[in-house]
């Protein structure tokens, strides 16, 4: 499989990798032999989250909110229904709230207690989102975290951090970049990065589109 190669990570030593590989395989073998899980279910889940559900879903939502004022209003009033109308919802997306970034308010999403994340619109979270540095610092020093992403906001911008302590899942709606008047939804969606929908980034400018 394409994802079978191992990357080097300073927090994941090779010995732990092989140990966890064996331990995971042991549990899988027992679950299959005892008839708890059909092996096809495992392939189905891996394939779904590797190939089908990812941040392009959320980008579609954001792009639509930039061009369709009625949808935008609905999105902030009832995120679950508005996002559901585009076909996204379900697992980690049953209770969705969209957060509006403005020149005076910047929203950021975290889960300090585990790794809650809006899978339905963003897919599975990146490693940094689940890491101790992000979980520990975002609620207390969001500007410091933004600096790690190369983002500096004006000093008087209010920063709202949303700690996902229940089953609500948040989608940040970044501001529409200047110079995109008349663009189609499809083209606008290309400007919407995953990080801009978590709040650790902003949407790309037209110049950044390659």
């Amino acid at each position: 499989m394409a994802h079978d190669h191992h990357h080097d990570h300073d927090h994941e030593h090779g010995s732990e990798l092989s140990d966890m590989q064996l331990r995971t395989r042991a549990l899988e073998t027992i679950l299959i032999e005892k008839g708890y899980i059909d092996p096809a279910a495992i392939d189905e889940l891996i394939e779904t989250y590797e190939k089908k559900i990812g941040p392009r879903n959320g980008a579609q939502v954001v792009a639509k909110s930039w061009v369709d004022p009625q949808f935008r209003k609905w999105l902030f009033e009832d995120g679950t229904a508005a996002i559901g109308s585009l076909g996204f919802g379900g697992r980690s997306g049953n209770h969705l709230v969209a957060l509006e970034n403005t020149p005076s308010v910047h929203n950021m999403v975290v889960c300090t207690l585990c790794s809650c994340y809006p899978w339905a619109v963003l897919g599975l979270p990146p490693l940094w989102y689940k890491s101790a540095p992000y979980r520990s610092r975002t609620v207390a020093d969001p500007r410091g975290v933004l600096a790690d992403f190369g983002i500096a906001l004006p000093k008087d911008t209010e920063i709202r951090v949303w700690d996902s302590t229940a089953e609500l899942r948040y989608l940040v709606v970044p501001m529409r970049p200047a110079g995109t008047e008349g663009w189609s939804e499809e083209k606008l969606a290309e400007l919407v990065t995953r990080d801009s929908m978590i709040g650790t980034g902003v949407a790309k400018s037209p110049k950044e589109l390659t």
Binding site: H3, H6, N94, S131, A132
Partner: protein, 219 residues
């Protein structure tokens, strides 16, 4: 519980390090760890809150030393032992050891696809009217239960404002102990960063959490 999982406000973990072109899984086994946890969730032997409690109950040194999916695999191992789905000898051997009882029905790919599509809503009919309304000042209780709770330590004892009534939701503190769903009203509560982090902290910061009614009191 006051375990290693409750990280908000801790110091010393260093900078956040984003990775360019990050794969969904960094190794094949991570995808399998993820899928096994999802599929056993569909099997319905335990609930999500019980799983989270098991994970955060790991000794802090172990919790902090495991990689993300390492933590999932370790927790699954412990859950399978606790719920009688595997014995220590089977886990050591890496396969089932006869005689064992087979599950009545394996979780199928179709069931998993359905779970992904439908999810599992956490809202429930309300057993009583909501105690608080939007705009109310509330204090997060100073509580330190040894069981599972979703009230982070950094919020406890502090006064915030109700900004949203989410609805009546399954209460993790009860559900994790297999005491039933015990639904309670859930609120989004906004705190001023200065109240949480002191005078020297960034005055532009607001922090919102979701808090169930039993976590809150009138100040």
């Amino acid at each position: 519980m006051n375990g290693a999982a409750d990280m908000g406000g801790m110091h010393g973990f260093g900078p956040v390090v984003p990775e360019d072109n990050e794969p969904v899984f960094h190794a094949g086994w991570e995808g399998h760890s993820f899928a096994l946890n999802m599929a056993t969730g569909v099997a319905g032997v335990w609930n999500l809150d019980a799983f989270r409690f098991k994970r955060e109950s790991l000794p802090p040194a172990e919790y902090l030393n495991l990689s993300y999916y390492g933590l999932w695999t370790r927790t699954l191992e412990l859950m399978m032992l606790e719920y009688g789905m595997a014995t220590p000898a089977e886990i050591a051997a890496g396969h089932a050891i006869a005689p064992f009882e087979k599950a009545p029905q394996p979780v199928t790919a179709a069931q998993c696809a359905n779970m992904v599509r439908c999810g599992s809503p956490y809202n429930r009919p309300a057993p009583a009217p909501a105690l608080f309304k939007v705009g109310d000042k509330v204090r997060a209780k100073n509580m330190h239960p040894t069981y599972h709770t979703r009230l982070p330590r950094y919020a406890r004892g502090h006064i915030g404002e109700v900004v949203r009534i989410v609805g009546c939701h399954v209460f993790p503190d009860s559900n994790s102990q297999n005491l039933g769903e015990d639904p309670h009203w859930l609120y989004t509560v906004r705190f001023d960063g200065r109240d949480l982090w002191g005078e020297g902290s960034d005055p532009t910061v607001r922090v919102c959490i979701e808090a169930w009614e039993p976590y809150l009191e009138t100040p």
